[in-house]
Amino acid sequence: MVREITYLEAVREAMTQEMERDERVFLIGEDVGEYGGAFQVSYGMLEQFGPDRILDTPITELGLTGAATGAALIGMRPIAEIMFMDFMTLASEQLVNQAAKLRFMFGGNATVPMVLRTPAGSGTGAAEHHSQSFENWFVHVPGLKVVMPTTPYDVKGLLIESIRDDNPVVFIEHKLLYKTKGEVPEEPYTIPLGKADIKREGSDLTIVATSVMVKKSLEAADQLAQEGIEVEVVDPRTLRPLDTETIVQSVKKTGKVLIVHEAVKTGGFGGELAAVIAESEAFGYLEAPILRLAGCEVPIPYNRELEYHSVPQVENIIEKARAIVQLKL
């Protein structure tokens, strides 16, 4: 049987194996060295690779993101870590205007192979400034690829693929998934970007969910199965490029769809998913409106109860799914 490791260990193993394989790969970020990263993701890597390949920076989100971009521009393959997704706001200029555009702007005569990793999400009581999810910002930027993995297996395969990809990839992890375990082969392997994964097959309803909401949707699906409702859970895994085909086929099969993500509903990635379905041939197969279940229209509050209720939970998914299947809208 295959070895089990955590999501966090899968991130570390992917980075480590790629750094062993390719000396152009290095890690740069705040407290990624001795401290091991705020979540201990890179713990031990400084000892293995030394300070020339594990670069600890002062608090300079814009600077370190641009540094990764510049290094990539001359043939290095950097991995940059932004400690919390909330601080991607500070990094966004270099990511959006430079990393994403340099190649096109220079007529295709430049290549920017880099990965920008960052943990998103609420549930840790870290409040408004350490809990956000806004992956759709980067989905909206041509030149970027956006990956949002759910399982340790997907993490390792997608991160290795992202490091080997010749484009800037935003790799969004989730704090609540770091400690979750799963089977992960020891040897390096890749999962292509742009391929969705059907995490559970079902015939009554398609749930398209991302990141931690895939986990919650699977829990919901198990309980719904006991009521005889068979839910298909589709995990896009890569948000840009998006595997529209797999999503559309699933919706054509079930005729009903629920979109679930943690990010605030308005302006979120769920809108893109709904639009992709509504403009596709699946439109003709829809037996119910396309519904979204997503974060409330609030910043993430500190109080545990309020925080819990500001993003979708298993019971909310069950309720919404049931309503769609029973067409009680």
């Binding site: 705040e30 407290d31 060295g33 001795e34 401290y35 091991g36 705020a38 979540f39 201990q40 600890d56 920076t57 002062p58 608090i59 300079t60 989100e61 814009l62 600077g63 909330d86 601080f87 500070l90 840790t124 009581g125 870290a126 409040a127 408004e128 400034h129 350490h130 409330c296 229209e297 609030v298 910043p299 509050p301 500190y302 109080n303 545990r304 109860e305 309020l306 209720h309 500001s310």
Partner: protein, 321 residues
């Protein structure tokens, strides 16, 4: 201002209250009564009290993530503060902000900030507003050595110098930004030296000596109030505890920690005022007991306080509500 018996007792009380608050915060966390994280300012009490003791009640402060001590020095109600730390409905932020965002706008505390350096641009704007409002108020803007490396610091200092706002920027240089040692890119003198280049006086001082902190900050506050513009002050100090609960202290030695503990800002101040006969050993001990009792009362208040109602979740996102 001259150090009277009353003031000496007041400062000592505040420093002990800060120490006691932080110790209680740690306990509450350890016993699982708090989720999330927190940043303790034990060892930095003199920087907070020495700086803020120079203000009028109508003046403002802007804090940072390690801001409990700043709130207490600004006169926060310990009950409401502890209630917020516990995320309760009657806390300063109705349980929305917690440890990292305690604010009391009407009381002149414009809040802590979860974004390192995030309070600095705000400080410039407050300064612009204070200038326009012409009520001779001033703002103390606190930040850490880590914040000084952010682009926000550079832009804010330039704007502050340009508009000559009545803001005193106070860097609490506790030598580390999480695990990153300040000395790798600057030290307190180096940072203070930048003041001149930004168009304002810059000075560094012993942040563990309440009276020397008070002296330099008072000068800067008087200047600002007189319309002579901003200043940059660096309080050289140290945090005794880890950065936050996730800290394993891999990046520093026990010797270093012990050396700084030997320079306890509270004991240092106690000695001074006892020598000056401004207080007796017994009085000082009573003050210490008093402060721990105040915090214990605050804990009980907080734990007895109600949780915010889930139905209120969306309140306060937009004005009016």
């Amino acid at each position: 201002m001259p150090l009277t018996k009353e003031l000496a007792a007041e400062y000592l009380l505040q420093m002990y209250q800060i120490r006691a608050f932080e110790e209680q915060a740690e306990k509450s966390y350890m016993t699982g009564k708090i989720h999330g994280t927190m940043h303790l300012s034990i060892g930095q009490e003199a920087s907070a009290v020495g700086s803020i003791s120079t203000l009028e009640p109508t003046d403002y402060i802007i804090g940072h993530h390690r801001g409990h001590g700043l709130c207490i020095s600004k006169g926060a109600d310990l009950n409401l503060m502890m209630a917020e730390f516990y995320g309760k409905a009657n806390g300063y932020c109705r349980g929305r902000g917690g440890s990292m965002h305690i604010a009391d706008v009407s009381g002149g505390n414009l809040g802590a900030n979860g974004v390192v350096g995030g309070g600095l641009p705000l400080a410039v704007g407050v300064g612009i507003g204070l200038k326009a409002q012409k009520e001779n108020r001033v703002l103390l803007a606190f930040f850490g050595d880590g914040a000084a490396s952010t682009g926000a610091f550079h832009e804010s200092m330039i704007l502050a110098g340009l508009f000559q706002v009545p803001v005193v920027f106070i860097c609490e240089n506790n030598q580390y930004a999480m695990s990153f040692p300040a000395h790798k890119w600057m030290d307190s003198e180096n940072l203070a030296a930048r003041g001149e280049l930004y168009g304002m006086p810059g000075v560094s001082t012993d942040g563990n000596d309440l009276l020397s902190v008070q002296k330099v900050v008072q000068q800067a506050v008087d200047r600002a109030r007189a319309g002579k513009g901003p200043a940059l002050i660096v309080n050289d100090t140290y945090r005794w505890r880890g950065h936050s609960k996730s800290d394993r202290n891999r990046y520093r030695t026990q010797e270093e920690i012990d050396a700084w503990k030997a320079r306890d800002p509270i004991l240092k101040f106690r000695e001074v005022i006892q020598q000056k006969k401004l207080i007796t050993e017994e009085e000082a001990d009573q003050i210490k007991e008093q402060s721990y009792a105040d915090i214990e009362a605050a804990r009980q208040f907080a734990e007895a306080s109600p949780e915010p109602a889930v139905e209120t979740l969306e309140e306060g996102v937009y004005a009016p509500w």
